[in-house]
Subunit: 187 residues, 2 copies
């Protein structure tokens, strides 16, 4: 299947902390590496790292630069290739505006959550939508204790939480992103 | 489906480095966290971290202890639960012996590799074997530049590499383990 119009974003704001307060989380190096490699594997067009904090944006740019232009680029060319689809953005609205402009069409914003929501679609349903539509789809992943309710409500729809075959439902965002992309995009 | 007899092992020896030499890699904190959470999610019975180096085994035990008995256990009980299935082992042979003893039956050793092998089975075939057999299955994941040929040859069979929908084939071992478990074990 084609996933030429699939975009993903990792939100560091607005997300919850353990106490249910809205916070900005720190960007982690491993998220950038693992999720960019998974995104590149599944033909995602762009992976946006969303944080409003200037120092954090500089941190991401420094990592990207190391692997794209520095020693890392020759040491590990496949990392350079994965990082080629990574972009930094201030806000989710900025990401939506950029993708809209690039695709000149509608952008369907898809929320993910570890908790079930009444309006969630199954992975198969979302897979069908992506493969049958020429529109762009932007899948949101959260950090911390999950994406703020406000953002979840404004999304066009949600996809069901990743469940395995147990009552345990605590994948890392890196694992959840890889599994979801596999369910939505594998041949 | 039941995966009550599924075991996984992460090998830090014998694996290749970038130059194709057999080395022992360092254990990384994130592998323990991400893979134990994925394993627990998919009903894996035990996750073995295999390293012959005493200092590395102590490093793993210290991390496990923090999240199982220390501050981490109360701060994040779901991490404690995931770490409950993690064990440290000196060698792959030790793991096989332990699992054999525990299950009192045959242990099928399943290799994984990012490179295609002539003898690889599809994920669906392996899923069928696991769900239909009462035997134990032990899936091996490599670190560094992959599991040594010697071990791959001694495995009962290999499972096909994880491919997305692109020519890019460089998932992290954390992502590859999560995706493979989803393909083999999801409801």
């Amino acid at each position: 299947m084609s996933t030429g119009n699939l975009y993903i974003a990792l939100l560091h704001y607005p997300v919850y902390n353990k106490r249910g307060e809205i916070v900005t989380t720190a960007v982690t190096n491993m998220d950038i590496h693992d999720i960019s490699r998974a995104a590149r594997t599944y033909g995602v067009k762009r992976f946006y790292i969303v944080t409003p904090i200037e120092k954090q944006k500089q941190f991401v740019e420094r990592i990207l630069s190391h692997w794209q232009k520095g020693y890392g680029a020759t040491y590990n060319p496949s990392r350079k290739e994965a990082f080629g689809i990574v972009r930094v953005a201030d806000t989710l609205d900025d990401v939506i505006a950029t993708v809209s402009e690039e695709t000149e069409g509608r952008v369907h914003v898809v929320a993910t959550s570890a908790a079930s929501r009444g309006t969630s679609l199954s992975c198969d349903d979302v897979r069908g939508k992506i493969s049958q539509s020429g529109d762009a789809f932007l899948i949101l992943f959260g950090t911390g204790w999950g994406i703020a309710e406000d953002v979840l409500e404004k999304a066009d729809f949600s996809v069901e939480p990743i469940r395995g075959n147990s009552d345990y439902n605590h994948l890392s965002v890196r694992s959840a992103a890889a599994v979801l992309l596999d369910r939505l995009c594998r041949h």
